[in-house]
């Protein structure tokens, strides 16, 4: 595409430098505030240290001691449950809403706005509000259930329930985002395609399956990766609402990273745990991309 463009650019003095000037500010900021800290953190993961500077190099010691840490298994399992609970749900509901609101419907712009509203609330605020609402003894959720003659539920106070409640809360914050992104993607599908299919007599479901869904695949892929990243890094809401409890039932990996770094003052170990989290994400992303490529080849 841009071969000719490039030649045209080169004709001018310093043409080759142009892209570097455009990308320069971002690259410099990236270097100073992302790359350097990441490199330091990688260094930390091979040290036994409470903060910085006083570390002792212990090679893979931090990674080795993970294998004998009983909490890690629990934290990984909880992370998996939390991620599987939040990601597909938010995306499915977001997609359903996007489809519903992508057609003429009375009040659809109002609905659109309202579904997106939870996204404007900061994580800390969501945590504070939701622990208030789901408080077992004076929260409005249980007060309502009781007023309706139903029993009170242990929203945040029984192990299984606490995780479910967190999932509900996080899904609540994510639906709007997924919906908007899907809505954008749906609107950019040429309507002629669908109209042609409709004339051919394809049912709505068939049209969705054969036209919309394949065309949404890249969007789905990006949303999936973003949602998994969000879920694996979900900290504020869990920290405020359950503190990882009751027991260990909502202690997820990122929670444990925080705890190792600051409660236990084991910065090196925390960095190592964080790198494991990053590795999980990278593997997931690469697998996802491979699956995508396969799917594209099949088309």
């Amino acid at each position: 595409m841009s071969l000719r463009t490039e030649r045209a650019a080169d004709r001018r003095r310093g043409g080759r430098l142009v892209p570097y000037v455009f990308a320069g500010p971002a690259a410099l900021l990236f270097l100073a505030f992302s790359l350097i800290p990441i490199v330091i953190a990688i260094g930390l993961s091979f040290q036994d240290t409470a903060s910085l500077g006083d570390g002792e190099w212990i090679g893979g010691g931090n990674f080795a001691s993970m294998t004998s840490d009983p909490l890690i298994g629990t934290a990984l399992m909880n992370t998996l449950v939390f991620t599987v609970g939040t990601v597909p749900t938010s995306m499915a509901i977001g997609l359903a809403l996007a489809i519903a609101l992508n057609r003429p419907l009375p009040g659809r712009s109002v609905f659109r706005a309202l579904f997106f509203v939870p996204m404007v609330a900061a994580g800390v605020v969501v945590g504070v509000i939701m622990s208030w609402i789901f408080n077992g003894d004076y929260g409005v959720a249980n007060n309502l259930l009781e007023a309706l003659g139903l029993g009170r539920l242990p929203w945040l106070t029984a192990p299984g329930w606490a995780m479910a409640t967190l999932v509900i809360v996080v899904v609540w914050t994510r639906i709007g985002f997924c919906m908007v992104i899907y809505l954008g993607a749906l609107q950019s599908i040429p309507s002629e395609l669908k109209e042609a299919a409709a004339i051919d007599g394809a049912s709505r479901w068939a049209r969705f399956r054969t036209i919309s869904w394949p065309m949404l695949r890249p969007t789905t892929s990006i949303l999936l990766i973003l949602n998994v990243v969000f879920s694996l890094q979900a900290f504020d809401v869990i920290y405020v609402m359950t503190g990882g409890g009751p027991g260990f039932s909502t202690t997820v990996l990122i929670q444990y990273v925080f705890r190792s770094a600051f409660v236990d003052a084991r910065m090196g170990y925390a960095a190592a745990l964080g790198l494991v989290l990053v590795a999980i994400l990278l593997v997931f992303t690469l697998l996802r991309q491979r699956a995508n490529r396969k799917a594209e080849e099949m088309l």
């Binding site: 409470a50 903060s51 910085l52 500077g53 009983p70 945590g127 622990s131 208030w132 408080n135 077992g136 003894d137 004076y138 242990p154 945040l156 106070t157 029984a158 192990p159 405020v240 609402m241 359950t242 503190g243 990882g244 409890g245 009751p246 027991g247 260990f248 925080f258 705890r259 770094a261 600051f262 409660v263 236990d264 003052a265 084991r266 910065m267």
Partner: protein, 434 residues
């Protein structure tokens, strides 16, 4: 910096001025980064965001500055999770000079060199006005790393109406405090009256799990052994305390929403205010709101007891950090704030309990509830020295997290008291072995 320089820009020419400005900026940065011009010694003090206390600290600081010309003091607030905030600032050598810190937080920093020994600035007569437990919070073998400023602890609050209906007259003297069995018996009756639960416990988040530790000591147990290091939650006494705690929830006397990890502020206080419980074990903080919302309807009794007495170790110490450029001056400020006179002022303004033994409720002249404040002051004497040593030890932050985990699992019934004790010991050992 630039303004204070004697030479004006025009006289020197632009280039010279810029060069000089650059040099003086670099010099100033090297000498004392962040400090205001003209050789003023600047001290920063960080406190929790409590408006009254900020005002009190500022008033004391102003008096300090008046006595020490050429100094200035700024009062700041501690943001976010304490350890995260403090570790980060220490790493960059930007921690405030003086820090308000709890006994449970101080141990790590006193042990790892983040706090400075201030024994040189502390007048000799201070030690004599402190009980052994309260002095032990900041004092280590190799120096004094903090001075306890104010304290609080747990006593029993009760709803007068509920007690009248049960026909119980709560004890008033420490010696007559309810024992565990008596207390649970009354709690069972209380539950019948409220229709919900019997009582509540004053945790306010996972970091405050240690507030339950006095129960272990009341039963003659200990969290850590005599040496202040060896985990000792495997004794019969400790297991007995866990079993006692389990009964609270098993018999529905305490709400499962009222656990250290389950957030949302002071759950016990909210339950008490709305009549869902008739008693609570809690600290003095609740009093203002109780006065406002149920005046005359509440009363207090001593903390419960069993084989022994014990209550929660609340309050804050003041310490000087290693980031301080003027540690001697900062230490003098700590000495001034913890002087008898200023402690009286601070406790009067903020409704806190004094850390010094020679101050009582009458000296301080609390605006309200003087009797109750005196009850808290008296209860403070039951805080056991071994518990203070354990909680102000080097690894307590981690140990407290472990305590929170397994106490939680035991109280909600996921682990039997014995299993909870065993697993807690295992986890504690792996912390102290590190």
């Amino acid at each position: 910096m630039r303004a204070s320089h004697p030479l004006s820009a025009t006289a020197m020419g632009r280039r010279g001025f810029i060069a000089l400005a650059g040099i003086s900026i670099a010099g100033a940065l090297a000498a004392c980064s962040g400090s205001p011009p003209s050789g003023t010694k600047h001290i920063r003090l960080s406190t929790w965001n409590i408006p009254t206390d900020i005002a009190s600290y500022q008033a004391i600081a102003d008096a300090f500055v008046a006595k020490h010309p050429g100094t200035s003091v700024a009062v700041e607030v501690t943001t976010g999770q304490f350890h995260q905030w403090f570790i980060t600032r220490l790493a960059a050598d930007l921690a405030p000079d003086v820090i308000r810190i709890t006994p449970q937080q101080i141990g790590r920093y006193a042990a790892n060199g983040s706090l400075v020994d201030i024994s040189g600035a502390i007048p000799d007569d201070y030690r004599g006005d402190y009980s052994d437990p309260f002095w032990a919070i900041g004092a280590r073998e190799d120096g004094v790393y903090g001075v306890f400023q104010h304290t609080d602890n747990f006593i029993t609050y009760f709803n007068r109406g509920v007690m009248d209906r049960i026909g119980v007259t709560p004890p008033t003297a420490l010696a007559d405090a309810w024992t565990w069995d008596e207390f649970l018996e009354i709690a069972t009756e209380t539950k019948k009256v409220t229709g919900r639960y019997g009582f509540g416990y004053g945790w306010t988040g996972p970091e405050t799990a240690y507030r339950w530790m006095p129960l272990v000591y009341q039963n003659g147990g200990a969290f850590l052994g005599e040496d202040g290091e060896t985990p000792s939650m495997d004794t019969e006494e400790a297991v007995g305390a866990l079993a006692f705690g389990r009964r609270w929830y098993e018999e529905g006397l305490v709400s499962t929403g009222n656990l250290s990890k389950t957030g949302g502020g002071d759950v016990a206080r909210n339950l008490f205010l709305t009549g869902q419980i008739g008693m609570m074990l809690n600290n003095p903080e609740s009093m203002a709101q109780l006065d406002e919302e149920m005046p005359g309807e509440w009363g207090t009794a001593p903390m419960i007891r069993n084989a022994g007495e014990a209550s929660d170790l609340g309050g804050n110490a003041l310490a000087v950090t290693k980031s301080s450029r003027h540690p001697e001056l900062a230490a003098e400020l700590v000495a001034m704030i913890t002087s008898r006179e200023q402690m009286r002022f601070f406790c009067h303004e903020g409704n806190w309990l004094p850390a010094r033994s020679s101050l009582d409720a009458e000296d301080i002249g609390y605006a309200a509830n003087s009797d109750t404040m005196q009850r808290f002051i008296d209860q403070g004497a039951t805080i056991p020295l071994p518990m203070v040593r354990a909680q102000s030890g080097e690894y307590f932050s981690s140990l407290n997290a472990v305590f929170a985990d397994y106490l939680d699992l035991c109280l909600i019934g996921q682990l039997s008291p014995r299993d909870a004790s065993r697993q807690m010991m295992e986890a504690m050992r792996s912390v102290t072995a590190n």
